[in-house]
Symmetry: none
Amino acid sequence: MIDKNSRIPIYYQIAEEFRNKIETGQLEYGDLLPSERELAEAYRISRMTVRQAINELKLEGIIVREKGKGTFVARRKFEQDLSRLTSFSEDIKQRDWEPSNKLIEIKIITDDSLVASILNVGVKDKVYKIKRIRMANEEPIALETVFTPQKRVGELNEQDLTGSFYNTLENKLQLHIAYGEETIEAAIANKEEMKYLGIQQGDPVLLMQRTSFLQNEAALPVEYVKSAYRSDIYKFKMRLKR
Amino acid sequence: MIDKNSRIPIYYQIAEEFRNKIETGQLEYGDLLPSERELAEAYRISRMTVRQAINELKLEGIIVREKGKGTFVARRKFEQDLSRLTSFSEDIKQRDWEPSNKLIEIKIITDDSLVASILNVGVKDKVYKIKRIRMANEEPIALETVFTPQKRVGELNEQDLTGSFYNTLENKLQLHIAYGEETIEAAIANKEEMKYLGIQQGDPVLLMQRTSFLQNEAALPVEYVKSAYRSDIYKFKMRLKR
DNA sequence: CAGTGGTCTAGACCACGGT
DNA sequence: CCGTGGTCTAGACCACTGG
């Protein structure tokens, strides 16, 4: 069903409808979709708007178009086409685990010169510091601290931190991320990591640091994350193109 | 210049024109492009056609659009400097260090069922096992063990292992790698790693495992590598696209 | 041949950014 | 306020696939 008066664009509503149909199995691999002209008539919209919807799905790789033949549901993508920037929640879901979180601390800090310089803000600017335990199937996996500048994300509340922070940024705040820079190193767990992750003294952890940059002219950093992952039950995985 | 009667679509001709301008430096990072309406008038085409051209460039990541402001040349093409599969030697050179190696062992093994299954060969097939200390500026960085099936790489000698193994594969053996799958985890150094890397008992190391696949129809694995990296002087770094 | 997706037009209204 | 990109319309002609 389409709501033409919604603030959500029509093409997006239609794309979403087909995403759902494919996800729920109402449409299966190889199925033929209605033609553009049929869809335009059915939804009583212009054919160009239909094309915009269908084009989104094509770019996502979930449908395939063939001139003169029609539009078909594509085979399942071979494991997300290469290594891409993903949030913790997205990553965990890809592994078929169930992500959850426990908020430990959210506060506003200033005068942290390292964080300010990484985020490219003034040392007196307000920066959210958010500490969470990130879990998969109720098991603690990582202790994560996010720094994000208030002047770029506005007011945050606890509700915004119940799931994927990328999801909040991209959908609620309409801040789109272009890319991220990550480093991964190994260390021995400190006391805080031992406590929250339920591991022993001397156990190794993976330390990941990431800075994510916005999709705009200046490519400003919008988050700086430091995470410590339990190494006994978590590995970083990637598929890299040569 | 645009040829409206060409078989090449107008939007493609316009996109190509801007690609060239950016590549040749006529347009630089941050430059503002003409607005859609200006371009439509200049080329005497419809605004929707201009949008199609500009949208191609946006998808390629070479321009950035901002509502109410305009269209700008993006700071970099992410296509090239995304995280790519690199050999140890290539990686070290990128960091402006000088790679070198010390060969510890090269032999042919059989009947290792784990290695055989990863490399997709029979358990009786001959597999090279090559153990090397990999160094940067004469400092040991990693202890690396490569497994590679003889039937895919042919005869190897010590000369082939003085530098980048990827270089040997791709240039001498003309075997081209399509992609690799990597995992990274943390562990406490074992005795062999302590000895060769010059680190202490209880020190953490980064364990990287990689399988590299050939650029052919079957996408056969050509190498399986296990490496232990000193974590005090080495981090994994990547830039990932969202 | 009829139907498909690919391209293109000449308009329109909207939300947003900056003046 | 004006100019920007984002969305949308109701048409049109083309090249291609298949019967």
